[in-house]
Amino acid sequence: MNALEVRGLVKHYPGVKALDGVDLVVRPHEVLGLAGENGAGKSTLLKALVGLVAPDKGQILVRGEPVKLRNVVDAADHGIGMVFQEQSLVPNLTAAENIVLGSEGAAVRRGVYRWDTMRRLAQEQLDKIGSNIDPLARTDTLTFAERQMVEIAKVLRIEERSQHPPVIILDEPTSVLESKEIETLFAQIRRLREFASVVFVSHRLDEVLDVCDRVTVLRGGRSVGEVATAGAVPRELHRMMIGSTGSDDHYHGNAATPVVSEQPRLSVRGLSGRSFQDVDLDVAAGEILAIVGVHGSGREDVCRALFGAEPTTAGEIRMDGAKIELPSTRAACAAGIGYVPAERKVEGMVGSMSVAENMTLAKQKARCTGPFVAPRKQATLVDRWIRRLSIRTPRRDTAIGRLSGGNQQKVVLARWLVGGDVRLLLLDHPTRGLDIGARSEVYRLMRELASSGVATVLLADSLEEAIGMADRILVMSDGRVTAEVACPNGGKPSPLDLVKEMV
C-alpha cells in the first residue's frame, strides 16, 4: 500500500491555477524526488500535504484512507511532516526546546519544563539521525546545516503520533548548504529511508538524481512524468520540466566578448574590514569576475564593502582610475555601482511596493523632472525596461511581491540599469532560488550588460555557475585572496581545480 497518494488535486488562486489535477504516489521506504520549475506547483502541493493549503478538488490518501488535513498538527497526526525551506526554529531556545516545541508531552509536567526529560526526548530524536549535536546548545550558535539536522529531528517526533512509518518532506534543503554538508544531508536521507518515506524537493537535478529512487516531474500544476533515477540523465528531466529541450549553452558563453581594456574599471588595493584582509582585485570594463570561497571566506563582506554597506578599515578603491570613498550605499550609487543582494525578498526588493517603484528606487532622477516625479516619464521608462527584460507582470503598478522569483530578480537588476549610469555591478548570488529558465535569462542579461561595458563582480551560487559565467575567478579563503584562475571561453578550469585552491 502507498504511504501517501494524491489524486487529481486542484487549487485555484485568483487568476492562477496553481494545481491543475496533480497526481503523486509516495511508496513506503522510498525517496521520491519532486522536480519542477518555479510556478510548477511544487510549493502549493507541499503545503497541501501538510495542511497549510486546502485544495479545491481532489483527494489526499494516507495509506489508502482519504484524509482531510486542516493544519500542520493534523498532518503530523497522519504521520506527515515537513522541513521548511526557510528554517522554522526559534533561535534563542536550545535545540532540545525546539525539538519538543509544540508537542512537549512528558517534557512538561504541571506546566513546568522538566529539563532532564526534555533532553532525553531530544537526544532520542537526535540519535535517530545519528547526530552529535548537543541538545542544550542554543539554536543560534549552531550552523545552518546543524539547524537543519535539528529540524529533521523535530519532524521525526511525528513518529510517536502514529504507529506507521512517517512521510518526511524536505523542501529545497540543499539550497544554502556547502557541498560537504550536502553529502552529510544525503547520508541522512538514506538513513531516513530505513524507517520513513521521504519527499525531496530541489532545484538541482543532479542532486535529485543522486539521492532519489524515483522522480515525479511537475509542470503547470500537473504531473507530467515519472522517472526512475537509475540510468536517468539530468537533460531528460530538464526537458520534461520545461516541456522542450533547453539551450545547450546555459551560460550563453558564445555571447561572451573578449575583454580589451588598458585601465581597470574597478581597482581595489589592500582593502581590509571586519572579515577580510588586504584584498586586491581588478575588474575591467566588460569583464565578469567571480569570487569563490567557502562560507566564512569573507567574499560576501568584500562585496558589501564595495557597495558602502560594510565598513572598511584600510585600503583604496579606484573607479576608472579615480579614487573614491564609499562611506554609504548612497555614495556607491552615485559612483555608478549597483548591488543585487543575496536575500532578494528581504534586502533586494520591497515586496509591497509596485514594480515601477522598486525599479526606480535607486535612480530617482530617471523618473523625475527637477525635484518632482513625472508620472508619464516614469511610465515610459518602466514599460521600456519591462519589455526589454521581458519581465512578466500584469501591470507596472502591480506589487513586486506577486511576481515569480525570476521576474522579481529582473526588476531588481533593472533598478541599476534605468539610470543608464551603472559602471560596476555587484551580484551576490543573483540566481539563488531561481528555476532553470529564469537563471538562463539572468545569465543572458549579465552577458548583455558585460558586452555593453559594465564591469561585474559575481558571487556565484555554485562553482559551475562561476566557471560558466566568469572571465576570471578569484579564490578567497579566511578573508584573503588566495588564488586567481583565468577562465576564458574555451579554456575553462574544472571545479576540481578551484576546490583545490579553496581549502
Partner: protein, 327 residues
Amino acid sequence: MSTSVAIKPPVEPAVGKERTRLTGFMPLIALAALIAALTIADPDFLTQRSLTAAARTAAPLIVLAAGATLVVLCGGIDLSIAALASLSTVFLALWIPDLGGLATPAVILVAAVIGVLQGAAHVLLRIPSFIVTLGGMSILSAVALVVSGAGTVRVVDDSTVKWLDLYVGGYVPMSVMVAVIVVALIAVLLKVTPLQSWVSATGYSESAARLAGTPVDLVKIGAFAVSGACAGLAAVMLVSRQFSGGPTMADNLLLPAVAAIVVGGTAITGGHGSVWRSLAGALVVTLLRVGLPIVGVPSAYEQILYGAIIVVAVALTLDKSKVSIIK
C-alpha cells in the same frame, strides 16, 4: 514562470482590486458610520454648532497626528509629540510679548529642531525611536515645567494668534482650515516627489531601502522634523483657543493622536498608510470624545465604548493584505 514556454502571466484578480479600493475608503466609511450612529442616538447632534465645535477641537489633534504619521510610515514612532506641543505652548506664551507675530514661526522652528535632535539621536546612536521619544517626552515635560515655573502662562495680548480662532465664512474654524492645508501639503509633497517611495521603502524594509541607495537616515530625521514642527503648530492652535500656555496643556493628546493614526488605517509597523487617513482617524477619535457625552452616553460607559470602537475601527481600516506581520 520565466521560461521561453510562456505560462500566462497571472491576471490581476478583480476581487482583490475591489477590496483594495474599498479599504482605501474605509476610514471615511468609519467616519460616516460614526456620524450616522451619533445622529440616530441623538438627532440634535447633527447641527452646525456641534459639528463646528467638534471640528475646532479636532484641529490640533489632526496636525499632531499628521506629523507623527510620517514617523510611523518610516517604521518608527514619536511619543514626544504631546509633551513637545505642551512645551511649545509655554514657549509661545512666553515669547509673544517680545516677538509678537514672529513668535509663531519661532516656536514651530524650535519644535522642528527638537524633532531633528530626536531623529538624529535615533539614527546616529541607533536607539529605537520608541525609547528616544519616550526619553524625549520625559525631558520635554520637565523642561516645560521649569520654563513655565510649573504654572499656566497667560497671554495678555493674543492679537497675533487670535486669527487661528476665527471662522472662515462664519462657519469653518480657521484652525481646521490650517490643519487641512497642512495635511494636504504633506500629502502632495510626498506624492509628487520621490519622498513617497523613500518613506514607504524605509518603513516596509529598511535594509532593502538602504541597499537601493535610499537616504534612509535623512528621510527618518526629516520625518521627525515634520513631526516636531506639527507639534509646534498644534501648540499655536491650542494657545489661540485658551489664551495661555501650560506645561501639561497638550499632554492628554498623545494617545488620541496614536489612536487617530491607527484608526486611519496606517500600519503601526510602517510602510503602509497616509496622512489623509490620519485626518479621518483624528475626526473619528474627536467625534467619539465629544460626541458620546453629547448624545448622552453615561461617562462610565464612555471609556468602554471609546476603547471598543477604536479597536473595531482599526479592524475595519487596516488593509491586512498590505501588512504581512501584525504585531
